[in-house]
C-alpha cells in the first residue's frame, strides 16, 4: 500500500448548461484528496462542496462504479477514460496523481453523441445501431436444448472477447473520424462467430453498417485509437471481420 498522505489538485472542467448553450472550461480546487479515492469520488467531493456553496454541481454520469455498466466516460488530460490502460474512468484512482496537479476533464466530443449538460452526452445512437441488427431472431420458448448446438471452445472465447464491449462509446470518442466500427464490429463478430448467429449474418452486417452511416458515424481509417482506449480491450480484428462480413454480404446477399 502506498503512502496515504492527502493532497490537493485543481480540476479544469467543461461546463455547459444545456445542449444549445455555449460551454467553457472552469477551474476548481479540490483539497484533502486521498490517494485511495477514485477519480469520480474526488468529483463527488467537489460536487458536495459546490452544492454547499449554493453552486450547481458538475453533471457527469456513472452508475456501477466497477467498470461494467458503461455509463461513465470522461476525457481526462486528453486521454479517453483517463491515463490507465484498458480501464473505465470509474476505476481510475487518485494515486495516479500528485499534489498540485492540474487535471483537465472534458466530455466525449463526437457529433453523434451530443452534449446534454456539462460532461453528460447522449449515446442513444448506440441503441439504434443494436436495434438495426445486433440480435439473433429467436422467440422465447422456441430454443432447442442448449447442448444440441456445440460451439468450438476457441470460437466461443473469441465471441466472448468481442461481447465484453460495455457500450461506453470510448472507441468513438477516441477516433479522429468519430467511427463506431469497433462497437459494431464487436457485435457483428460475436454473433458471426457463434453458430446461432449464422443464419442472419449477411443481413446483420448490411443493416448495422447502413444504420451506422445514418447516425452520422465516420469510417475507419486504421488509426487503432479505439483499441488503445477500449476498457475491455476489444480488438480491431473485429473491424476486419466486420469489413469481411459486409463484403461477403454485398457479394452474395440476395437483397
Amino acid at each position: 500500500m502506498k503512502g496515504l498522505k492527502h493532497f490537493s489538485v485543481t480540476v479544469r472542467v467543461w461546463r455547459q448548461a444545456g445542449p444549445k448553450e455555449p460551454g467553457k472550461m472552469v477551474s476548481y480546487k479540490v483539497k484533502d484528496v486521498s490517494p485511495d479515492m477514485s477519480f469520480l469520488e474526488m468529483l463527488d467531493v467537489l460536487n458536495d462542496n459546490l452544492l454547499k456553496k449554493g453552486d450547481t454541481p458538475i453533471a457527469f454520469e456513472s452508475d456501477c462504479r466497477e467498470g461494467i455498466c458503461g455509463c461513465c466516460g470522461l476525457v481526462v488530460n486528453g486521454d479517453v477514460h483517463g491515463p490507465d490502460e484498458h480501464s473505465t474512468v470509474c476505476q481510475l484512482h487518485m494515486r495516479r496523481f500528485s499534489d498540485g496537479d492540474v487535471i483537465t476533464v472534458e466530455p466525449w466530443r463526437v457529433k453523434s453523441f451530443p452534449v446534454i449538460k456539462d460532461l453528460v452526452v447522449d449515446r442513444s445512437s448506440f441503441d439504434r445501431l443494436i436495434a438495426a441488427g445486433g440480435f439473433i431472431s429467436v422467440n422465447t420458448g422456441a430454443a432447442p436444448d442448449a447442448n444440441s448446438v456445440p460451439v468450438e471452445k476457441d470460437k466461443a472465447e473469441e465471441a466472448m472477447d468481442a461481447a465484453a464491449c460495455i457500450g461506453c462509446g470510448a472507441c468513438v470518442a477516441s477516433c479522429p473520424n468519430g467511427a463506431a466500427m469497433l462497437f459494431v464490429g464487436a457485435k457483428v463478430s460475436q454473433l458471426a462467430l457463434l453458430p446461432q448467429g449464422t443464419p442472419e449474418r449477411a443481413n446483420r452486417a448490411l443493416n448495422m453498417v447502413a444504420a451506422m452511416d445514418k447516425e452520422g458515424f465516420g469510417n475507419c481509417t486504421n488509426e487503432y485509437e479505439c483499441e488503445a482506449v477500449c476498457p475491455k480491450d476489444v480488438k480491431v480484428a473485429n473491424i476486419a471481420r466486420l469489413n469481411r462480413e459486409f463484403l461477403l454480404a454485398n457479394l452474395f446477399s440476395k437483397k
Binding site: 441503441d127 432447442p144 448446438v149 466472448m160
Partner: protein
C-alpha cells in the same frame, strides 16, 4: 388486505402446467390493443419486454439510464444456476428446488421455488440461442462450476461477466422488438408515481430526467422490474442509482411489502478504504471455488500475509464447516467473517478484512488457469487496491448486496394491487431469507421470459377494463402531487447534501441493522431514523432548477424514500424475533453461535400494509407450508 397466493391445486410437478392451461389467453389479433408498461430494463424488465413484444403486445419500457443496457443486472459476475445435470453429478429439478428452499432457510413459498427450478433449464436453452457466449468445454458443450450452498456444479457462466452477457442478450432481444415496432424504449425516465383507476393500476407518472417534465403514460398492466434496495445501507455493491422508490410508491398505493428486513450481505467484497467511499465492489462468489478464506491465528498479527506460516493460519470456514468449507452460503460466510474480525483477528490497515488466498490453487492449477477463469476480477482488484491478488491474498469483507424482501406477489407475480406486477429482485418470492449464489439471474429471467408472459395475459384476458387516458383526473392529480413534493424539496435550501444525509442513514443501518441485530440496537435505530428524516425535510439542499437535468434532485427524491422505507425495514426486523438466513437476531442463536429459526412462530412471510402518513403500518402474515421439503436445522457442517 387479503393475501391469496393463488397457488394452483394438484401435485407440485404439475402446478405450473395446469395453471398455464387454466389462465385466460389473449387472441393474437387483440394483443396489440393492450398497453403494457414495464418499469426497469434489467434482466427481469428486458426479458419481459422482449417476450411480451414477441407475443404482439404494445410494450413501453422505462429506464432511468441513457440506455436500457446499463441496468445493474449487468454487474452480476459469477453465473446462473440451472438443473441441467450436464456434469452428471446428480442434479435434478427436485435438487435445485430443495437447495433453494433450504438455502433460503425455509422462508420461501414452495410452489414458486419449484417452478423456478423447473424453468431453469429453458433459460439456458434460450440464452444460448440468442447468442450469449457461455463458457464451453473443448468438446463444444457448456461448462459448469460450483457456487455456495450446493454440493454439485450447476452454474453456467461467461467468465466473470455472466450478468453482463445475459443482460446484453435480453437487451438485444428487446431491441429486436423495438425494430419490430412492438416495444418502445423510454430512456432517462424515472417512475415517480403509479396511477390507479377503478382499483387497478392503470398507468404511471414519470419524470423526464433531461427536461424535468412530468409525463403520463396509461396502460392495462404495470410491471415493476426495478431491482432491490440494498442502497438503504448507503454503501453496498449496488450501482449508485439503485433505489427503493418504485417499491415504496407501490406500497403507498396499497401494495403489500413483504419481509423488508431480509437482506443479503455478500461475504467477498473489497473493504472500504475511507470516508469518501461511494460504493463497495464485489468479488464474485465463484472465487471461493479456488480461494481459501483465512485470518492469522494470533490476534493483531500485522505481518504481511505471505510471511504468516501455514500452521499459524486459521482457515475458519474450512474449520467450522468441513462439509461445505469455503463454499458455505453467503449469510454463513459473512457472519463467520464478522465474528473473527469483531474478535480482533481482522487484517489490513483497517483490520476490517479477512484474506481470500489463491496461493494453493495457483500451485495446483497454475496462475495461467486461474487467470483464465477469474482474470477480470483480479484486474478489478488491482485497479481498486493497487495490490496483485496473484502474489498476495486479496483482502475481503462482507457488504450489502441483494434484497430478498420486496413487493409481495402471488403465484402470478401480481402484487395486492390488481394490474400491478413485480418481477425479479423487486418482488419477495423465491429466495426466502437468503439467496443462493447464481440464483438472482435465474429468477429475473424466469420471471421475465417465461412467467410474466403467461400470467399477464391471464390477467388481461380475464379483466373488463374501463377506459383510461392520460387526460383523466387520476393522471393530472398524480402529476400535481409529484410536482408539489418536488417543489417542497427545492424550496428547503438548507445546508446538508442528499449524499450526506444518505450516508448518515447508511451508518445507522449498517451498525444497528446490519449483520447482527438485537432488540436494543433495532430500537436505537428506530429512534435515529426519524431524526435524520426530519433533518432532511428541514435542512437538505438541492441547487438548480427542477425543469432541468438535475442529478442532485434525483438523488434527493431517492433519499427521501429511503428515509421512510428504512423505518419499516427496522420494524420488520424487530417483529421477526427469530434468526433466519440473512436476518440474524442475537437473541436467537444456538450455543455454537449459529442462527436459530423459530418455525412455530415465524414460518410466514411478513406482509406490511400502508395505512397513511404518520400511521403505523399493519402486519399481515402469509403462512408458509412445507409439504415437500422437511424443515430441518440448516447445517453445512
Amino acid at each position: 388486505m387479503k393475501l391469496d397466493a393463488q397457488i394452483p391445486a394438484g401435485p407440485i410437478e404439475k402446478k405450473w402446467d395446469s395453471h398455464k392451461f387454466n389462465l385466460k389467453l389473449v387472441n393474437p389479433n387483440n394483443r396489440r390493443k393492450f398497453d403494457i408498461l414495464v418499469v426497469g430494463s434489467g434482466l427481469a424488465g428486458a426479458s419481459a419486454a422482449a417476450s411480451l413484444g414477441e407475443l404482439g403486445y404494445n410494450v413501453k419500457v422505462f429506464t432511468l439510464h441513457d440506455s436500457p443496457r446499463r441496468a445493474h443486472s449487468i454487474a452480476a459476475q459469477g453465473g446462473i444456476n440451472a438443473a441441467k445435470n450436464y456434469p452428471n453429478d446428480g442434479d435434478s429439478v427436485w435438487r435445485l428446488f430443495h437447495d433453494t428452499v433450504k438455502g433460503g432457510d425455509y422462508r420461501a413459498r414452495e410452489a414458486n421455488v419449484y417452478r423456478l427450478a423447473q424453468l431453469s433449464g429453458q433459460i439456458i436453452d434460450h440464452c444460448a440461442a440468442i447468442g450469449v457466449p457461455f463458457a464451453r468445454e473443448y468438446g463444444g458443450l457448456l461448462s459448469n462450476r460450483s457456487f455456495g450452498g450446493a454440493q454439485l456444479s450447476r452454474t453456467f457462466y461467461a467468465r466473470g461477466q455472466t450478468g453482463q452477457q445475459l443482460l446484453v442478450g435480453a437487451y438485444s432481444a428487446m431491441m429486436r422488438q423495438v425494430a419490430a415496432g412492438t416495444v418502445t424504449v423510454m430512456p432517462r425516465r424515472e417512475m415517480v408515481d403509479i396511477v390507479m383507476k377503478g382499483g387497478r393500476a392503470r398507468g404511471i407518472t414519470v419524470r423526464n430526467l433531461v427536461t424535468g417534465d412530468l409525463e403520463a403514460h396509461s396502460g392495462h398492466a404495470v410491471l415493476l422490474c426495478t431491482g432491490g434496495y440494498a442502497n438503504v445501507f448507503y454503501l453496498s455493491t449496488n450501482a449508485a442509482s439503485c433505489n427503493v422508490s418504485a417499491i415504496w410508491t407501490a406500497y403507498k398505493k396499497g401494495a403489500g411489502l413483504a419481509n423488508p428486513c431480509f437482506t443479503q450481505i455478500h461475504p467477498t467484497c473489497i473493504p472500504r478504504s475511507g470516508e469518501h467511499q461511494s460504493k463497495l465492489t464485489l468479488m464474485s462468489e465463484s472465487l471461493r471455488n479456488d480461494g481459501r478464506v483465512w485470518v492469522p491465528k494470533a490476534k493483531g498479527d500485522h505481518r504481511p500475509a505471505n510471511e504468516v506460516p501455514e500452521e499459524e493460519r486459521d482457515y475458519f470456514l474450512e474449520r467450522r464447516y468441513p462439509a461445505f468449507g469455503n463454499l458455505v452460503p453467503r449469510d454463513i460466510a459473512s457472519r463467520a467473517a464478522k465474528t473473527v474480525v469483531d474478535s480482533g483477528y481482522g487484517v489490513g490497515r483497517t483490520a476490517q478484512a479477512v484474506y481470500l488466498d489463491f496461493r494453493d490453487s495457483i500451485k495446483r492449477k497454475t496462475e495461467e488457469k486461474i487467470k483464465d477463469e477469474y482474470g477480470n476480477l483480479f484486474d478489478m482488484y488491482y485497479q481498486i487496491t493497487d495490490e496483485n491478488g496473484y502474489k498476495t491474498p486479496m483482502r475481503i469483507y462482507p457488504a450489502p448486496h441483494y434484497t430478498m424482501g420486496g413487493l409481495w406477489v402471488d403465484y402470478n407475480l401480481m402484487t395486492t394491487i390488481p394490474g400491478l406486477f413485480a418481477l425479479g429482485e423487486a418482488n419477495f418470492s423465491d429466495h426466502g431469507a437468503n439467496r443462493l449464489g447464481a440464483s438472482a439471474l435465474m429468477q429475473g429471467l424466469a420471471d421475465g421470459f417465461f412467467i410474466a408472459p403467461s400470467t399477464v395475459a391471464g390477467y388481461l384476458g380475464a379483466t373488463k377494463f374501463e377506459a383510461a387516458t392520460t387526460l383523466d383526473r387520476e393522471f393530472t392529480d398524480s402529476a400535481k402531487q409529484v410536482q408539489e413534493k418536488v417543489n417542497r424539496i427545492i424550496a428547503i435550501k438548507g445546508h446538508k447534501t442528499p449524499s450526506e444525509l444518505h450516508r448518515q442513514l447508511g451508518n445507522v443501518m449498517w451498525n444497528d441493522v446490519g449483520m447482527a441485530r438485537s432488540e436494543a440496537l433495532l430500537k436505537k435505530a428506530l429512534k435515529k431514523i426519524p431524526e435524520i428524516r426530519e433533518d432532511f425535510w428541514k435542512d437538505v439542499t438541492v441547487s438548480g432548477a427542477d425543469k432541468d437535468f438535475n442529478p442532485t434532485l434525483e438523488k434527493a427524491l431517492k433519499v427521501a424514500d429511503f428515509l421512510e422505507f428504512a423505518e419499516l425495514f427496522v420494524k420488520d426486523a424487530l417483529e421477526r424475533k427469530e434468526s433466519c438466513g440473512g436476518h440474524f437476531r442475537e437473541e436467537s442463536c444456538t450455543p455454537e453461535g449459529e442462527a436459530k429459526r423459530d418455525d412455530e412462530n415465524f414460518s410466514h412471510a411478513s406482509v406490511w400494509e400502508y395505512q397513511g402518513e404518520g400511521k403505523e403500518a399493519v402486519l399481515h402474515k402469509e403462512p408458509l407450508a412445507f409439504e415437500h421439503i422437511k424443515m430441518a436445522e440448516r447445517s453445512y457442517k
